[in-house]
Amino acid sequence: MLVASTRLGELNISPSALIEFSEGFSGLPEWRQGVLVPVAELPCFFWLQFVHDPAAAFLLLALEGVLADYDFALARQAAAFTPQSRVYAIIRVPAGDLSQATANLLAPVVIDDLPAPIGRQVILHDTNYPLRHPLFVEDEPC
């Protein structure tokens, strides 16, 4: 099937690759069916392109690759998904300025492949994980 994307052009994907977010996202209830597309040359970054609107997409960061100390078990438990599920942070890029980009570590997105691709945004209550975790830190002056 073809999925239109303002950022990625036309994507030809297998219907079995569609990820169902049955609850949508808080504030974006119609964002329910998406496809995960790796960002070229950036192994830990993905576009989550939604089907209903070519402009509807999140930039995600696969946390396993970059934040080993994150409580992945807690996120999977909150989603009620399997230990094989993957945990992503939604990236916010204020005014398109990547140097100011932040990762939402309080409400990660968990995606599982069994029995079919499903996803859920969970809120990690009772942690101090930040809503806006700076992605890039300024170089230390030397």
């Binding site: 974006l28 040359e41 009620a80 398109g96 570590l105 994980y129 975790h133």
Partner: protein, 89 residues
């Protein structure tokens, strides 16, 4: 909106599978216990509103976002990782 008066230890039910109990009242703070199926999400309003706002902000990405240029990556680098400082729980 339905408004009910309850004493400490008294319960109420929402549908067949959600139970709310007043655990403690201390000054102007009420502690509630909620028993609900796993699939039912329960949020403090402040957190819910914050995440809603953050989702909306993150949904407004520019179309011409050029990731690899900004990250200053060398083509063919094995696995460029973004460095995140450790997070206190």
């Amino acid at each position: 909106m339905l408004v009910l008066a309850r004493k400490v230890g008294e319960r109420l039910h929402i549908g067949n599978d959600i139970e709310v109990v007043v655990v403690e009242i201390k000054g102007d703070v009420v502690r509630l216990g909620i028993a609900a199926p796993r699939g039912v999400a329960i949020f403090r309003h402040e957190i819910y509103a914050a995440i809603q706002g953050e989702n909306l902000a993150a949904s407004a990405l520019p179309n011409d976002l050029n990731l690899s240029a900004k990250l200053n990556l060398q083509k063919g680098a094995p696995n460029p990782k973004v460095q995140l400082p450790p997070v206190d729980k």
